[in-house]
Amino acid sequence: MTRNTLLAAVALLLLAIPAAATMTADDIQPEGEPRVIVMPFENLTGSPEAVALVRDSFVSALQAKGWMIADVARTDLMLEESRVRYFDSLDESVRTRMTTVLASRGVISGVIYKYTAGRNPVVGLAARMTRADGTLAWAEVGALTAQDTERMLGFGRDADLPVLTRRVVGQMLDSFPKPDRSRARVKGAPRTFFMRSAASYRSPSLDPERPHLICVLPFENYSTHPDAARIVADVLAVKFAQSKGFDVVDAAKLRAAAVKARIGTFRFVTSDDLTRLAPAVGTSYFVRGTIFDFEDPDGRQGGDPEIQVELSIVDVDQSRVVLSAQHARKGRDYEGLLLLGAVTNTVSLTDRVMGEIVEAGLRPAPAGQAAVTAKGGRRVPERHSELRSRKGENQ
């Protein structure tokens, strides 16, 4: 090698270093190798075999769509080395390390809510893909019962749990991004005509023009179903994340912030606790709610799921509620012509109801609510002048 060639090579190297320092994990990965990490899902069912089956279903379905999957054994080894306890969401440092080492665009994680055999087997789960930088690329909820797969005259019924699982995963991945980074076409939620919508209130102070970061807390649970709070909060987080008006704080970030703020349980968390938590999670908007009813047919043929919830988004900095909604539905409420269309499992019902609540919450405040007058420098709604007074009557 001549002296000039050597100098040129050194010069190129010096120029390349700053460029390399600004590269992200996406840039490092060659365009021709779209790869994701598929984690074992968190399992709320009593069936340990569900985890492997769901994971295998995701791996097969994603490979069929042209995605490459990070080596499963290597993924599990890294999870063990990092002592990961919760598989629904990864800590930022663990996620960054894994996506870099395994040269992946993101991590697919999730929760299995239902995996029940019986006269009407049911599979229900939620999944998300988190990019290396922590932003959400995709989230979806899916559930099916054997009854849902029946066609006319009862033909075509799939009562095999592995088959149901593959069908659920296939439906969920319809909206998964394509390897060439283009968006998949997403089918909108079914329209509910002639049905009352969720009762809701949205404060005019919640700017409809920009997304708001919110933190979903575990719900208070008056029902007898032990997993109701988890299912409802998870599904609500997915629906908010899917909407254009809201971004949702990652579950792992909330857990880390709670540990740092010495909050052991969210059951009796106060507004003061949330004020302390707000800087760590990056937002003062917290979602709190209550589940009043959560009926789960749990594999019974012809059972009718039921749910009744209320929720509020509270701005703890201003000590005010910026959004509030209440909704109740039964599976049979969605029954249409020829007695078709009823929702037969709680995960699907929760998905529909939370979707309707988020849709109601995204509607801007009516014109009457937005009208305010300045009274001595204080915000006073115009309707305040309509309040009754007996003072004049007695003079």
Binding site: A199, S200, Y201, S203, Y222, T270, S271, D272, L274, R288, T290, F292, Q308, E310, S312, V314, D315, V316, S319, R320, V321, S324, A325, Q326, A328, G368, Q369, R378, R379, V380, P381, R383, H384, S385, E386, L387, R388, S389, R390, K391, N394
Partner: protein, 193 residues
């Protein structure tokens, strides 16, 4: 052959009997109301909603109805309403139902509110007309100004039985929450002119 006049008279009697039966079968709603002689609701800017007292047999009734009330009050958009988490700081569950004017004055200072709403759920149960649910709901609501701890507005409403369409056609039954929401809306409207 029956004369036309007799047929016409019989038809009128039949219609009257049917109407009478329908009215007799209607759900009943009773309401009582009080507004203090010197009340000036326009002077109230900021309010809080305290936890409701539960006198029914349904465990979560008070919480359910209080949350429905909270949403309806927000939607009315005439007051600044303190968020529930701040209220929980100032009110102990054991105090509900036995609060004195001094307690209301203390809460008013701690929360910086001009008045507080309280309520009692007396009945909250579901009966059945055939296969259709018919709610039995009795609510009492109060607005107490915190300067002196005086009740300035109070209303009570009881709703029981099925509506006419439910009795006649077996459709249109309401859930307990829907019935409570309707009652609360009509009660809150009495705050307005």
């Amino acid at each position: 052959m029956i004369p036309n006049r007799t047929v016409s008279r019989l038809r009128h009697i039949l219609v009257l009997v049917m109407l009478g039966a329908a009215v007799a079968g209607c759900g009943t709603t009773q309401q009582t109301q009080f507004l203090h002689a010197n009340a000036d609701l326009g002077a109230i800017q900021k309010v809080a909603v305290l936890p409701f007292e539960n006198m029914s047999t349904e465990r979560a009734a008070a919480d359910k109805v209080q949350k429905v009330f909270y949403l309806e009050l927000l939607s009315l958009d005439v007051f600044d309403v303190v968020e529930p988490g701040s209220v929980a700081r100032s009110v102990r569950p054991s105090e509900i139902g036995s609060m004195t004017p001094a307690d209301f004055q203390r809460i008013g200072k701690e929360l910086g509110v001009d008045a507080v709403f309280t309520g009692s759920v007396v009945d909250f149960a579901e009966a059945r007309t055939g296969s259709t649910p018919t709610p039995e709901v009795t609510l009492q609501l109060r607005l107490i100004e915190t300067a002196a701890g005086t009740t300035i507005w109070s209303t009570g409403q009881a709703r029981s039985g099925a509506s006419m369409s439910t009795r006649l056609f077996g459709v249109g039954g309401e859930s307990l929450t829907q019935a409570a929401r309707k009652m609360i809306r009509s009660e809150l409207r009495t705050l307005l002119k």
